[in-house]
């Protein structure tokens, strides 16, 4: 099982290789970037249904650093590399038009993907921190890529909040090292079960989870997201909203809570309350927006609330709903952001009031926007319906009908939000609609359409993956999370 280091080594190697050869040849960054993400996608599909612990350098844990591949890591790897491939396909034509330096864009993009691959594979607390920093620094630079005034301001705001969160996380890692004497996640879990509870451990827990909640953009800590996502170039917005807030935020929170600290009633209540507040405030703020990408960014906050509610319920059905909604959300949110990128490429504006009647001139883009909007609102038989249904049913079964009520209210408000999006941009007219420019619009180029079509098809058919329920394809993932601390310790240290 030697391919685990390739997930980290290949993007870094190509990211450093691209500036060396592409000063004279202009086509090299595009081709190399796309080939790399395609190879990573094939490799991540090959890791399905396998569990493996890879010792780096031959040193055994807890002395050495390990890479742990289990169901949850495999799911996140597939999400990261799939959306990465779609985004690199989209950026071949998109970056030509407005931005200047393609080779730096592809280097930073590949560094971001390599950093995220390392984060989901790592089994060591400090290694997790280092890979998270690599990916986060690349995304700070990519958000402000076109150097306009607003983009730089958004990038600076994101930088300051992200850096404060990283310093809190490093402080918490230092506290945990001082208390337990080890950095391996399984080893720290084993020692924490043996020593009596101390307020210092609680303080480290709060700092750690608070820092990662900033990265996941949940509600008290969400203030960077509505500024950073609209200002980034469209493929980067798709990556940020579809992958980065999941791989760096929700995945790490899940891994630390379920496999390191242990799940109990207090943590469950915490996650559910934060999730419900995120849901409701996200969607209420989104309805007021008139900028298309800012609206989509606020709805990302809301959907992350859904995922955290599903995970916070703690029952296997709730965990299945949360994980499936994570997968679905990355698919349809990146589809919607790529659509908004295509609309912006053609019409030159992101303001919903200035668009209108796009279904006549851009048929494929408007069809995929329609599929994306129906998915996120939860219309059967598209994939969003199944995951939202499972979360609501799990809430009722766990004996918390109020949570289910808030989830239904959130879904209804999301439906009204996306009816507004479709009405203003696709099928009706905005208030400041411009007739003359409208005559010149045409469909976007071929390479930009292919990711839209692929993601729409995936949205339609992903509901079929649920066949088999908790023992089907998502079975290993639920097993990892539900197995708790003991199963993880045996898997890593027992091998």
């Amino acid at each position: 099982m030697n391919i685990l280091p390739v997930f980290v080594a290949l993007p870094f190697g190509v990211a450093f290789f691209i500036p060396m050869v592409s000063r004279k040849l202009k086509w090299v960054p595009d081709v190399l970037g796309n080939i790399t993400t395609f190879i990573l996608l094939i490799l991540s599909l090959m890791t399905m249904n396998q569990e493996f612990v890879y010792h780096i350098g031959g040193w055994k844990p807890p002395i050495g650093i390990v890479f742990v591949l289990d169901g949850l890591s495999c799911l996140l790897l597939i999400i990261i590399n799939l959306i990465g491939f779609m985004a690199t396909l989209f950026s071949v034509e998109y970056i030509e038009k407005r931005y200047t330096s393609k080779l730096r864009y592809y280097s930073l993009f590949l560094l971001m993907i390599g950093g995220m691959n390392g984060t989901v594979l790592s089994g060591d607390l400090f290694n997790l921190f280092v890979f998270m920093e690599i990916s986060a620094i690349s995304s700070y630079a990519l958000v402000g890529f076109g150097c306009d005034a607003r983009e730089l301001e958004a990038s600076f705001k994101y930088l300051v909040m992200g850096n404060v969160a990283s310093l809190f996380i490093l402080y918490a890692v230092a506290l945990l090292y001082g208390k337990t004497g080890s950095l391996n996640i399984a080893d720290v879990a084993r020692i924490l079960r043996e020593i009596p509870y101390d307020n210092l451990i609680g303080f480290a827990f709060v700092l750690l989870i608070g820092g990662y909640m900033v990265k996941a953009a949940l509600v008290p800590f969400h203030a960077w997201l509505p500024d950073a996502h609209p200002s980034a170039p469209a493929p980067i917005s798709a990556m940020l909203s579809g992958v980065v807030i999941k791989a760096l935020g929700t995945y790490v929170i899940t891994r630390l809570i379920f496999n390191l600290f242990g799940f109990n009633q207090i943590i469950s209540n915490l996650l559910i309350y934060i999730g419900i507040i995120s849901m409701i405030s996200g969607v209420c703020l989104a309805i007021l927006q008139s900028d298309l990408k800012r609206l989509l960014a606020y709805s990302s906050i809301e959907q992350m609330g859904f995922i955290i509610v599903g995970l916070g319920l703690g029952t296997p059905l709730g965990i299945l709903g949360g994980i499936f909604h994570l997968f679905n959300h990355s698919l349809f949110k990146s589809l919607l952001f790529l659509d908004s990128g295509a609309i912006e490429y053609e019409t030159g504006t992101r303001d919903l009031n200035k668009m209108g009647l796009l279904y006549k001139k851009m048929p494929i883009t408007s069809f995929s926007t329609l599929i994306g909007s129906l998915s996120i609102s939860g219309i059967p038989p598209l994939n969003g319906f199944w995951s939202k249904l499972i979360i609501i049913l799990a809430a009722i079964k766990a004996g918390r009908p109020i949570v289910a009520l808030w989830a239904v209210i959130g879904s209804i408000l999301t439906l009204s939000l996306f009816i507004k999006v479709c009405r203003y941009s696709l099928y009706g007219k905005g208030e400041k609609f411009d007739e003359e420019k409208f005559k010149n619009y045409k469909e976007v180029g071929n390479l930009m359409i292919v990711p839209l079509i692929v993601l729409s098809i995936l949205c339609i058919f992903t509901g079929l993956l649920l066949i088999g329920g908790e023992n089907g394809i998502f079975g290993p993932v639920v097993d990892v999370i539900n197995g708790g601390v003991l199963q993880y310790i045996n898997k890593v240290l027992g091998s």
């Binding site: 920093e133 402000g144 005034a149 730089l152 404060v164 490093l170 402080y171 090292y177 007021l288």
Partner: protein, 115 residues
């Protein structure tokens, strides 16, 4: 006792990041916070009357491991300082570009994104 002082320096840096209006002062607040975290990480490895963790010829390994300070946090801090350097240079570059676009370093006037 000294660990509390490290935390106090961290809080002073956090005050600088959140309450000051000049971008350069925010950047200096960040450097203070990083110093505090790195210092805390090194001080964790301290052992009373310890010797540096470098084995010299003819020294017994068991005696050495009883008296040496912990070398693992020192390796972690090397990596962490370099990460901090990377973020700091990115912040300074963005601050120069912000000065060019807005003409001021005051963050209360850099407010074009609203809503």
């Amino acid at each position: 006792m000294i660990y509390y002082l490290c935390f106090v320096v961290f809080l002073i840096g956090l005050y600088g990041v959140t309450c000051k209006k000049n971008i350069v002062k925010i950047i200096i607040g960040f450097t203070l916070m990083e110093y505090a975290v790195n210092l805390f990480l090194i001080l964790l490895g301290y052992r009373k009357e310890g010797i540096p963790p470098i084995l010299s010829k003819g020294q017994d390994i068991f005696e050495f491991s009883k008296k040496a300070v912990d070398p693992l946090p020192q390796a972690l801090v090397l990596t962490s300082i370099v990460i901090g350097l990377g973020v700091l240079s990115l912040m300074v570059a963005i601050a120069i570009r912000l000065y060019q676009r807005y003409g001021t370093f005051d963050i209360t006037e850099i407010k074009k994104l609203k809503g």
